[in-house]
């Protein structure tokens, strides 16, 4: 596994994967390939990595960058998330920022990220079923004892909820029709499912347990799961010390004041009251039963 020490690409944004500890014989799959650094990092430490993404454009870009990085043990597969069924092939599954994408697509009933041609015409409108179906695919592909790495943002709680509520309530009151009323009801249901499944890690834990995962460890991530600077295991809150990560800002006094206020608020929320459900992002690591 030793490589010539010639390139200095920094993969620090893949620091969350350091929680797993890859083995050089591992075969890994990355659903969505949402984070390039993670793909490269996993490829460096494992035997082989498979990246699955339904977008040709995205795959082409990825392929070019993999060539630049001289990554030779990565296979990119052009397929939808549930079109490729593997049977106990992988030692590790990486799902980086991908589940929220699935949910957004399902809520909008169209793909806002992937090529619409590749996305299946017949869509499952139930968030729960989509997610359970996806996790079942993930579970089946893992070898016994294989690891699941799941990272997702918590910020969507505010953004999506406010945005959707605002839009729907406005259209509901401007002109009433039965169709709109039904849409509104389905939206409320979608938001409920969204809150239930995505946001609290407890909902996620339940979902993973239902799908046969064990040893589930949850982590709070700061300031963002795309470039973590601080990761705290939620089962070790008594032993871990939270200090707000530095939001370095040198541009303008207003930004500095904002960063200072944010640090104080963070210290209050997370250090004093330990409200880690409000963490900006989460990582969940689980294992398939041996």
């Amino acid at each position: 596994m030793l490589a010539p020490q010639h390139n200095y690409t920094n993969l620090s944004s893949a620091v969350g994967l350091g929680l797993i500890g890859f083995n050089e014989k591992d075969i890994v799959v990355d659903y969505g390939c949402m984070c390039f650094d993670s793909l490269v990092y996993a490829s460096r430490l494992s035997k082989k990595i498979v990246g699955i993404n339904p977008s040709y454009e995205k795959l082409n870009t990825l392929q070019n960058r993999l060539v630049e990085e001289d990554v030779k043990n990565c296979d990119l597969v052009n397929a939808n998330y549930n079109e490729q069924h593997f049977n106990e092939v992988f030692n590790c599954v990486i799902i980086n920022s991908f589940l929220e994408q699935l949910i957004i697509d399902t809520i909008h009933n169209k793909s806002i990220f992937f090529d619409s041609i590749i996305w299946p015409k017949k869509k499952d409108n139930s968030l729960g079923e989509t997610r359970i179906g996806f996790l079942q695919t993930v579970y089946d592909g893992l070898r016994p004892g294989g690891m699941l790495y799941l990272s997702y943002t918590n910020k969507l709680r505010f953004i999506v909820f406010l945005l959707l509520s605002k839009l729907e309530i406005m259209s509901f009151f401007t002109s009433f029709s039965l169709k709109k009323a039904l849409r509104f009801i389905s939206l409320v249901k979608a938001i409920y499912l969204f809150l239930y499944y995505l946001l609290p890690q407890k909902g996620f834990e339940r979902l993973l347990k239902t799908n046969g995962f064990v040893d589930i460890e949850k982590y709070a991530v700061f300031p963002d799961h795309k470039y973590p600077l601080k990761i705290i295991p939620l089962s070790k809150l008594d032993e871990c010390s939270f200090e707000p990560v530095l939001y370095a800002s040198r541009e303008g006094s207003l930004s500095r004041i904002f960063a200072g206020v944010k640090r104080r608020v963070d210290r209050l929320i997370f250090k004093k009251f330990k409200l880690f459900d409000l963490s900006p992002s989460f990582i969940i690591i689980a294992r398939k039963v041996s």
Binding site: L2, Y8, Y41
Partner: protein
């Protein structure tokens, strides 16, 4: 094994520091995320080997050369100090560290520089002193004896000044006392201690490459970022 990420890519070092909770012990793990990080971790390993040569902790320090290197460091027991420690209240510890430095550094066959000696890198359990964070370790000439202590004193001055805006007479007297303690018995060929703060800055400037810094030197070392007039001022305080 459960891990907590303590820091990531500090000063662009391409290294993550994890605190790992194993079933029966807690230890720290430094993991590289680039070849630059590998270089720094390998260097840090050399620092630990130099400092803990023939001692018990060395057996617990484990280095793994995978594609990206890893270094496991035991959790040392003892008192730790915050990164923004000041002079006031730490006088006894500082004197103890200078004593320790004079003994430990002059008895070693090969002279070396820690490179980032600060109070926060010490763990003190009664009279047992442990030193961590050897990322900027390098071998040097014995004529540069004292660099690390001068660097540590300047970091303390910096944080003290940030807190109180100026050094009081007590602090100034204490700095002078530290300087006298450090220079006692040092030969005339020493290249640091005549104008300690200015010469320490010059050393940093001359041998920047040895420190393996992957960021602007001004951001990393307060000694480097301070105006020469300030360093002259503190030189005059301690040497007069």
């Amino acid at each position: 094994m459960l891990c907590e990420l303590i820091t990531n890519n500090t000063h662009n070092n391409n290294i993550a520091l994890y605190k790992c909770y194993n079933t029966n012990k807690v230890f720290y793990r430094k993991a590289a995320f680039s070849h630059w990080g590998n270089k720094v971790i390998e260097n840090e390993k050399k620092g630990y080997e130099w400092f803990y040569k023939d001692t018990e902790p060395l057996a617990e320090i484990r280095f793994r050369r995978k594609y990206f290197y890893e270094l496991d460091i035991p959790q040392f027991k003892g008192k730790k100090f915050p990164s923004e420690s000041v002079i006031s209240g730490n006088e006894e510890t500082i004197e103890m560290i200078i004593d320790f430095y004079k003994g430990r550094w002059s008895t070693n066959d090969i002279f070396a520089i820690h490179g980032d000696l600060a109070l926060c890198n010490f763990i003190i359990d009664k009279n047992n002193i442990k030193l961590v964070d050897w990322e900027h370790f390098h071998y040097s000439d014995k004529e540069y004896f004292g660099y690390d202590i001068i660097n540590m004193l300047f970091i303390l001055i910096y944080h003290e000044s940030k807190r109180t805006f100026s050094l009081n007479k007590r602090n100034r007297d204490f700095l002078k006392k530290c300087y006298i303690q450090l220079v006692e018995g040092v030969g005339s060929s020493n290249k640091i201690l005549e104008k300690p703060f200015q010469n320490a800055r010059d050393y940093l400037l001359k041998f920047t490459d040895r420190f393996l810094i992957n960021t602007n030197t001004y951001d990393k070392f307060v000694l480097f970022g301070s105006p020469l007039s300030v360093l002259e001022h503190f030189d005059s305080i301690v040497t007069k």
